[in-house]
Symmetry: C2
Subunit: 231 residues, 2 copies
């Protein structure tokens, strides 16, 4: 059940990992969508109306009805367009679903806040943040071996839920390396994740929506200036 662009709109920002995973999920399912870029430095009326509780991007508008929170949106997409695209995003088997949900939540709990510290956008010890990312990647390296079972993705032969959630941060992996002057994705330490990251970023559903490193570095510098100015 592919649909036209009007039926599906995404209020988002091009640099936001939570939005990138939604775009990639829609592309996996072959669903056309309209991207509504949030203005810089303020929140649009449409966003405030669509997500009055958190006032955060991304929001999926499906025939005008808002769905909020990126992981909830991806599950919604998977359930609505169950027979579209290459495959299901979440596996069918309950234990495999639980494992992907567990690690996906872990990624957003550990990697996302550490990156904000490393980008200088939230307070915190940068060495601790770097150590937290490193511990997370060690766990994910092991998780990849278990989940992928020798195949290309956490989801097996195809990109799945955990691939989207971790993969949507990959643009920022490279940008954070430049911003903080550290090595995030060390091939010697995390050979499986490093190889997976290359495959993920080369996938047709991801290539178009994954931002370039230099654009992210510039975006982050502007955000840091704004954060400083508002203190």
């Amino acid at each position: 059940m592919a649909t036209n662009g009007e039926a599906v709109r995404v209020i988002a920002g091009w640099a936001c990992p939570y939005a990138i995973r939604v775009f990639a999920a829609l592309k996996l399912k072959g669903v056309e969508y309209e991207f509504l870029q949030e203005p810089a430095g303020r929140k649009s009326e449409l966003l405030l109306k669509s997500n009055p509780v958190y006032k955060k991007i991304p929001v999926l508008l499906h025939h005008g009805t808002p769905i909020c929170e990126s992981m909830i949106i991806i599950q919604y997409i998977d359930e609505v367009w169950a027979s579209s695209g290459t495959t299901a995003i979440l596996p069918a088997e309950p234990y495999a679903r639980a494992i992907e949900r567990f690690w996906a939540q872990y990624v957003d709990d550990k990697i996302a806040p550490a990156f904000l510290v490393l980008r200088g956008l939230t307070k915190g010890d940068k060495d601790e943040a770097e150590a937290q990312v490193s511990t997370a990647l060690q766990h994910l390296e092991e998780a990849f071996v278990k989940c992928s079972q020798g195949k290309h993705y956490f989801g097996g032969d195809n990109i799945g839920f955990l691939d989207l959630v971790l993969g949507s941060h990959l643009g920022w992996f490279k940008a954070v390396e430049k911003i903080a002057g550290i090595k995030v994705l060390d091939e010697a330490k995390y050979p499986e994740i490093t190889a997976w990251a290359d495959r993920f970023c080369a996938h047709h559903a991801v290539k178009e929506v994954m931002p370039e490193t230099d654009r992210l570095v510039e975006f982050s510098a502007n955000s840091a200036v704004k954060a400083k100015a508002s203190n």
Copy 2:
């Protein structure tokens, strides 16, 4: 597909809301389970082995395989015992699922941390914490009207996902009222939620697992003493 007690075990604490929702979900499905009470003040070897990442309760052990994080556990229970008990825990329709997931996450984001402040277990402004709970209940009062559509529960005729997630905090609603000397669940402000709370606590799947207020107050006092001693 009911099962015997050996097949399903839950590492948990009797006072923990995240555990109470898992117990209630298993009872809804008619699944027998063994409750493995975590010892006070230390973490069991079984817990450390079963949840090495977060080292937190509850953990569901299904034929020995650990599943962690309460909302993930409930979805696992719903998917494994799909045809057991009175009904499905999550609705079938994708939008209804997304809405229950959204408010469930909101409950744990807003109510749970505010209660820790009101119990004196984490630092924070108690007036702000009370206001946060109040705002959350206003949102949930409106959400109840939309989700229940005139029926008894957020899930409609039967207890569903959001019922379990919010309902598992209800023991602490009353305990926090005693501990902090405030009114949490004001019938005049939140008539729908107040009536729902009574129905939820009287349900056969909940009655046995919902702790008594005085026991929770005593438990909290002991936790506060321990927290102070370890500072």
